[in-house]
Subunit: 138 residues, 2 copies
């Protein structure tokens, strides 16, 4: 049993071909992926709906996280802390490049804690910075 299979096992997900393939695909990509990205790459092998459901199960089991942006198209990226499912621990900044359109996780940058008005109880946070990325500025 290889790393990827162990990863799935760990999260109590059955080991299937879609899951192995999509998980590996995520691992090979530094930038966030949309369903459309995956469909483009995997439609010959798997059904659209299966891809949707794979994303949903990864999301529910804490293998990936969803990154909101103003496009309204869901983008996903791998979670860092493999072992901790459902955790909000991995709260890092996301960066969206206005030039190439790619979104990446800046794992090194934590979202600063803010002092909210009275009675507001924060639980999680999402910070998306837009601009031009390192590659596009090179």
């Amino acid at each position: 049993m290889n790393k990827i299979e162990q990863h799935l096992k760990h999260h109590k997900l059955r080991i299937t071909q879609v899951r192995l393939d999509i998980l590996r695909y995520f691992q090979n990509h530094k930038t966030a992926l949309s369903h459309a990205d995956l469909e483009q790459h995997f439609s010959k092998h798997f059904d659209r709906v299966t891809i949707y459901r794979t994303l949903t199960s990864f999301l529910e089991n804490g293998l990936i996280h969803k990154i909101p942006d103003d496009s309204g198209i869901a983008k996903y990226a791998l979670c860092r802390h493999d072992s901790i499912a459902h955790s909000t621990v991995d709260e890092h900044v996301h960066f969206k490049c206005k030039n190439c359109g790619k979104i990446e996780c800046l794992h090194a940058l934590e979202i600063p804690k803010l002092h909210l008005p009275k009675k507001y109880k924060p639980e999680s946070a999402n910070l998306l910075i837009e601009g031009t990325c390192a590659l596009c500025n090179a």
Copy 2:
């Protein structure tokens, strides 16, 4: 000519009934509104598409801003700095309540500037904090 009409004039938008009504509706609501919210309220008076286009023109002319969240459903709220169209000046924190689902602008809270990795050039930022809001905690 009243305040709302002046507001439209200021942004070089023609004064029409939808615009007056929707703008006033925004002013009367502290929380962000989706197209669906507006459609529910205005569908007897205006066409769905007209409401979409009203939102688009408000957005393009800086009367409202779009608030991304993980739902994928676009939500909008009034901009503060009336006079400065297309500006990214009004960068405040947004709060989404996990209990009542409402999103509000925390105009008092600015988004902190972060030090990005080399060659990354930030232009704008969006911070959404989720938790439970003041009303739901009361």
